[in-house]
């Protein structure tokens, strides 16, 4: 691949668009959930204010080097996921740094951020952070199983590990989308997607009022600001991944916005309809039906 200045510029532009889109989504989705509960909910631009506020805090304290690196790991996980994926199909500019075999790397990046947080939270010395981290990690590990099976099934179906090729194979009509050509893999992916978005019923690991709130307990001021930036980028990167794998990718930005919005809405929809699982329940749930779908998807290919 030729590496030119142009690529960096367009990479940054992608990042900028995705960041803003992610922040707006972060404002709109709670609003939708609040409307279901007959509330007005937060203002759609509230995430912007929160980030400015957090960076405007005047004092910071630190707990050591890993504490600094936690948010950095997390953010680089989000940006890495985004940068190694073809965002707009067929565009020479927004293909970013995707390459053959990027699917494996993308799967790896999913886990990267959580691990970074685990290290950083461990350093903060908060007595409950170990509980929080282990709860988070066990849920992520459980949901990775159906996710990975689904992804392997899709990779076998198209005989490639390159996301751009997978998208290319789905062009030419809705019926060519993987969700219709390989419904079991699609189901396994969409169910594990629910867990990875961190919304109800799988949000107990992030639930702020839980006593061991988990990794971000000690993070504040600018550190929290960085985590919030990642909170905006990472979901959109994940949405783009699922759109690429299951829904035929996008050939333009508006198409991308529409498709990812509805994929996100699926998790919000489930979230407002179902109450929370405890961590042990959600682990068992992921190892049940979603895993079954994943195995069937592998067997059928």
């Amino acid at each position: 691949m030729q590496f030119e200045l142009k690529h960096i510029t367009y990479g940054l532009l992608t990042l900028f668009i995705v960041l803003n889109y992610g922040l707006i989504l972060q404002g709109i989705m709670p609003k939708i959930a609040a409307r279901v509960g007959r509330r007005y909910g937060i203002r759609w631009y509230q995430p912007y204010i929160d980030i400015i506020k957090n960076h405007a805090k005047r004092s910071k304290i630190t707990h050591g080097i890993m504490y600094y690196l936690g948010p950095v790991f997390r953010l680089s996980g989000g940006i890495g996921l985004l940068m190694f994926m073809p965002v707009i199909f067929g565009s020479p500019y927004f293909g970013n740094f995707s390459f053959a075999g990027d699917l494996t790397l993308v799967l790896y990046f999913q886990f990267f951020g959580v691990l970074g947080m685990a290290l950083g939270a461990g350093e903060s010395g908060h007595p409950h952070s170990a509980i929080g981290v282990s709860r988070g990690l066990s849920q992520v590990t459980a949901l990775e199983l159906p996710l990975t099976l689904g992804v392997i099934s899709i990779a076998m179906q198209y005989g490639t590990l390159r996301i751009a090729d997978i998208v290319a194979a789905q062009q030419g009509g809705i019926m060519n989308w993987t969700i219709f050509t390989n419904p079991f893999a699609g189901a396994a992916l969409m169910l594990s997607f629910l867990g990875s978005m961190g919304r109800a019923p799988f949000d107990v690991v992030l639930a702020p009022q839980e006593i061991p709130i988990g990794p971000p307990t000690e993070y504040h001021s600018g550190f929290l600001g960085i985590l919030q930036l990642n909170r905006a980028i990472f979901p959109v990167a994940k949405l783009i991944l699922f759109m690429n794998l299951l829904y035929g990718g996008a050939t333009s930005w508006p198409e991308l916005f529409i498709k990812t919005f509805f994929i996100y809405l699926w998790s919000v929809f489930v979230g407002v309809a179902f109450p929370r699982f405890r961590v042990d329940q959600s682990v068992r749930w992921f190892l049940g039906v979603p895993l079954l779908f994943g195995i069937i998807a592998i067997l059928l290919i």
Partner: protein, 213 residues
């Protein structure tokens, strides 16, 4: 943690060497808090606006007034639409609501939580108990005037104040912050010795570092 855990002592390390530990110094920072000056007025105005529109409340209920904070999250009052959100940890929050009377024991926890919050931070005092002792004015175990121990930005009078009153108090706090008057954290740092002396006068068994960051 008991008081004896905080004392200086010599212990044997696993490989048989005696080491001296002083928990108060090793685990806590007891440096004096610093005054953080506001930046250029034109930026400060903008930042103050952001601070006032994103108030993160520490979930900490002290007296009976805490009951009146819950309805704020419900559809009827819905404080979220004013940019008010609840946070679980003092590190991330910027508003501390003292919701009623403070027993001496709770005061200790309140001081620790308050000091862990990052500058700028604001305090809302809820109910008459925080103003002059309220119906606990002659109690042997509660404090009477909160602002002897922490700098208070807004008082909400009543016993107990209704959720509407609390919302009005938040609006007042926003106004103060926008005018650049929400400098409680700096006030605390400037008059640190006075506040500490007052706190120590009332907390007899002082078993924590003088300043918890």
């Amino acid at each position: 943690m008991s008081k004896s855990d905080l004392e200086k002592r010599t212990v044997m390390s696993p490989d048989g060497e005696p080491i001296e530990i002083n928990p108060l110094q090793d685990y806590f920072c007891d440096a004096h808090p610093k005054v953080h000056e506001p930046v250029l007025p034109i930026f400060e105005k903008f930042l103050n606006w952001a601070r006032s529109e994103s108030l993160w409340v520490l979930g900490f209920g002290t007296g009976c007034g805490a009951i009146e904070m819950r309805p704020l999250m419900t559809p009827r009052f819905d404080a979220y639409r004013f940019g008010i959100q609840w946070r679980p940890t003092p590190r991330q929050s910027s508003v501390f609501i003292i919701s009623g009377y403070l027993s001496v024991k709770t005061l200790k926890r309140v001081i620790r939580s308050y000091e862990q919050m990052q500058n700028p931070k604001f305090v809302i005092a809820l109910g008459s108990c925080t103003i002059n002792g309220g119906m606990y004015w002659d109690s042997y175990n509660t404090i009477k005037r909160l602002d002897h121990y922490l700098p208070v930005d807004v008082y909400i009078a009543g016993c107990m104040p209704r959720p509407e009153a609390i919302l009005a108090g938040f609006e007042k706090l926003k106004e103060l912050i926008r005018q650049g008057k929400g400098e409680g954290a700096n006030l605390y740092a400037q008059n640190f010795d006075w506040y500490k002396a007052n706190q120590k006068k009332i907390i007899k068994d002082w078993d924590m570092p003088d300043y918890n960051w």
